[in-house]
């Protein structure tokens, strides 16, 4: 760092380089920045949020008088419901997170194998090669509200048996709730697990 040493001596002699010249404006400027950006900007967006879905308090659907956050995965374990993706944080929406397991971590791969076997046990007619990977891998947030359409279809038989409904009826629920790619062109097609399950409950 000796090359910087040349500049230190001249610094002392320059009247604009004393702390006093900068410190007071720095403090005053910072305080006003706080008022402007943390205050006025935030309040403006908060004001606009009053026009947004549920006034910016998170998008809600109401079923039988009860609120549900449509963008947040819920835990489903019963056979009569579509299951969400595995969650590394047990669907804790106040402490979201992923597993952060590396792709070749032996313990992690064992866990995935356990999930595959558990899925096959509960869905006996499904072949191993038909299970889409998202149903046995944890999402990034632990709150992924979606699964792929294949991920929904492999669960049809289990749900139909459990609800004493025809498989066609369940397939129709999936079809009616399929979310196409954005503008029909961009990104994956998917279904929202909570929407599917609300639709299922309406069938009976």
């Amino acid at each position: 760092m000796s090359i910087f040493a040349n500049y230190i001596t001249p610094l002392k002699n320059n009247k604009y380089l004393v702390m006093k010249e900068n410190i007071i404006p720095a403090i005053r400027l910072t305080v006003f920045c706080a008022v402007f950006f943390s205050g006025i900007y935030t309040l403006s967006i908060l004001g606009i949020a009053q026009l947004a879905p549920n006034q910016g308090k998170g998008e809600i659907v109401t079923v039988n008088g009860k609120n549900h956050h449509i963008n947040v995965a819920q835990k489903f374990t019963e056979n009569k419901y579509f299951w969400s993706r595995p969650s590394a944080v047990d669907y804790n929406a106040a402490g979201s997170g992923g597993s952060n397991k590396g792709p070749n971590n032996p313990e992690y791969l064992k866990e995935v194998e356990t999930r595959i076997e558990a899925f096959l046990y509960k869905n006996p007619s499904v072949k191993r090669s038909e299970i889409p990977s998202e149903l046995v891998t944890a999402s990034g947030s632990g709150l992924d509200p979606n699964i792929s359409i294949i991920g929904a279809k492999v669960q049809i038989e289990r749900i139909a048996n459990s609800r004493n409904l025809s498989e066609e009826k369940i397939a129709e629920v999936i079809k009616n709730n399929t979310e196409r790619p954005l503008f029909g062109m961009f990104g994956p097609a998917k279904v929202n697990v909570l929407r599917l399950n609300i639709a299922l409950d309406k069938l009976n």
């Binding site: 400027l29 910072t30 967006i45 308090k57 998170g58 449509i70 402490g95 997170g97 992923g98 944890a138």
Partner: protein, 566 residues
């Protein structure tokens, strides 16, 4: 072509559509030319200068610029430490979250004032809303600070001999109010209309369909996320950042947030061409950056879309690609795309967990941060590239036997020494830090077992990634690392400090000294810097510096992991 690939192409298209006009606009801002937004912003800026007690017309030399920058950063450091260690009893804390410990507050403070946004806490449980809004303030003004100092370097590159480079405070306020604020406004509105929360109410409690109780964290998320994406900050409101469905609810918000990462860094390159009236130079720099970006993007996307071979071996379907740590609404392609955007710039936000990505994508994200100038951070990305230009000019000058000149200014020993010091600082910080951490871990793997979430090569990558991210002022992580310990908080804090301020001081010093030199008009003997030949030369310099410095470390991490899994 499938909809996932089409999705990432449209994102880049959107960036370019907006970045070129935005670059022209930023050029006008720094040139003090009139724009149609003057009516709104002239009075606002006047209030800033009046309250700050600042004369925006006072010209400053390069030393005064640096002094002003460092002083205001010290003020931010102190305020931030005070807020973070006292959040528990201060207002706006509906969830009753605790104050931070000293070492965590040090790390978080440094992280946000240096525009890094490395997070060793989780937003839902680690910050009050006052804490979040304080960090959001640094997101605005640390980005504004980077743009202001970059503007000073642009002024220094003009075709004249001058000791002064404009006024730091004026560039700073203009960057914050005229660029960052209006863009954040637009992005925040799009987010809030798509379901991102914006409220001061605390957690919501609901009963799920199966009858369980679920708490859902909320807060002023939309305002925060907008500047997080635009200012190459990257610190998420929630722990898993934009993977969280509240922070990034659908594919449209993903496009907007993802495009926001690149918008200002690319616009700055075009602003340079506008200010210097050298459009061709901008396009040359842009092309080098884009070439590097694509060389990292394409392998990452292919690797993630193809899925994890270890999962394929289990005999299940991987139609969607590697999905551990990813979200279905984005898919593998848009996740790998974001991972590349966020690491070639110094953003560091994520929409998928990098720790769970395939070794190839893990390596390209690391390389993006190791090179740290393929677009780079807001303002400072160009400063990093500037160092490589100086090196490129010097080396090609030696090769063809011409005096090394850049834009009519002679590059001499003093400038070269600074450029080399800065170029070597980044590998030095990363490799020394990783070596130290590995040494500590290897000496006591049982006591430090909380550090690593994964064994073997991948565990090493977690440590390498943490120091790379800190030194690149990036802030993303292989988040399996148990990093909220005094060692990681202090070590990465120190690395972030050095890695932010020295690479600002170096280029500004070089540019300031060059600006004072006599301008030599172009002649036949001049090495032209806006040609593709020179572009390739700079690319080669970047490649050699990065490959030589980092190849051994990458071999121990992702490369070894890739081959051992085959």
């Amino acid at each position: 072509m499938n909809s996932e690939i089409l999705g990432i192409i449209v994102m880049y298209g959107l960036v370019m559509l907006l970045a070129i006009p935005l670059g022209r606009y930023i050029g006008k801002i720094f040139n003090y030319e009139s724009t149609w937004l003057d009516k709104i912003f002239n009075p606002i800026d006047k209030i800033f200068f009046k309250i700050g007690g600042i004369d925006p017309s006072k010209e400053m030399n390069w030393k005064q610029h640096l002094f002003a920058l460092l002083t205001i950063n010290v003020v931010w450091f102190i305020i931030s430490l005070l807020v973070l260690t006292n959040m528990a009893w201060l207002p706006f804390n509906p969830d009753g979250n605790p104050s931070m410990s000293g070492d965590l507050a040090f790390n978080t403070t440094v992280s946000f004032i240096t525009n890094t946004n490395l997070q060793h806490y989780s937003g839902e449980s680690g910050l009050s809303y006052l804490g979040q809004l304080t960090l959001m303030l640094w997101q605005f003004i640390s980005a504004g600070c980077g743009m202001a100092i970059c503007a000073a370097v642009f002024m220094a590159m003009k075709e004249k001999t001058s000791a002064t480079l404009g006024n730091f405070y004026s560039f700073f306020v203009r960057s914050c109010t005229r660029v960052l604020l209006p863009l954040s406004f637009i992005v925040a509105i799009i987010l809030v209309m798509n379901g991102t929360p914006m409220t001061f109410e605390g957690k919501d409690t609901i009963t799920t369909l199966e009858g369980n109780e679920q708490n859902v964290s909320r807060g002023p998320v939309a305002a925060f996320v907008a500047i997080k994406q635009l200012g190459t900050n990257g610190g998420g409101f929630y722990g898993p950042n934009s993977a969280n469905p509240m922070e990034n609810p659908n594919y449209l918000t993903n496009i907007v947030e993802n495009a926001s990462i690149f918008l200002i860094p690319i616009a700055m390159v075009f602003a340079l061409g506008f200010i210097l009236k050298r459009k061709k130079l901008s396009w040359t720099i842009y092309s080098v950056m884009t070439l590097g970006f694509l060389m990292l993007l394409i392998p990452a996307v292919i690797s993630e879309v193809n899925g994890n071979p270890a999962i394929s071996n289990m005999g299940i379907a991987q139609n969607m690609g590697s999905m551990e740590g990813k979200e279905v609404r984005f898919g593998a392609a848009a996740s790998a795309n974001w991972a590349t955007y966020t690491t070639v710039t110094s953003n560091g936000s994520v929409n998928a967990m990098h720790d769970s990505m395939t070794p190839i994508a893990g390596m390209t994200t690391l390389l993006g941060m190791m090179i740290n100038c393929f677009y780079g951070g807001v303002g400072v990305g160009f400063l990093n590239f500037y160092i490589f230009i100086i090196l490129g000019v010097f080396i090609s000058g030696l090769m063809v036997g011409r005096t090394p000149e850049f834009l009519g200014k002679k590059i001499e020993a003093k400038e070269m020494k600074i450029a080399m010091t800065i170029a070597l600082l980044h590998p030095f910080l990363i490799l020394v830090g990783t070596a130290l951490a590995s040494h500590l871990y290897a000496g006591n793997p049982e006591a430090l077992s909380g550090w690593l979430a994964n064994p073997g090569y991948h565990g090493f990558s977690e440590m390498l990634y943490e120091f790379t991210s800190s030194s690149a002022n990036n802030g993303s992580g292989f988040e399996g690392l148990g990093d909220n310990t005094p060692f990681w908080n202090i070590a990465t804090g120190i690395v972030m400090l050095f890695a932010r301020y020295l690479p600002i001081i170096g280029p500004v010093a070089i540019a300031g000294m060059l600006a004072q030199k006599q301008y030599i008009p172009e002649s036949n003997g001049t090495l032209k810097t806006d040609t593709s030949t020179f572009g390739l030369m700079v690319f080669a310099v970047i490649f050699i510096v990065a490959a030589l410095s980092f190849f051994p470390a990458l071999t121990l991490g992702p490369i070894a992991e890739y081959f051992s899994a085959q």
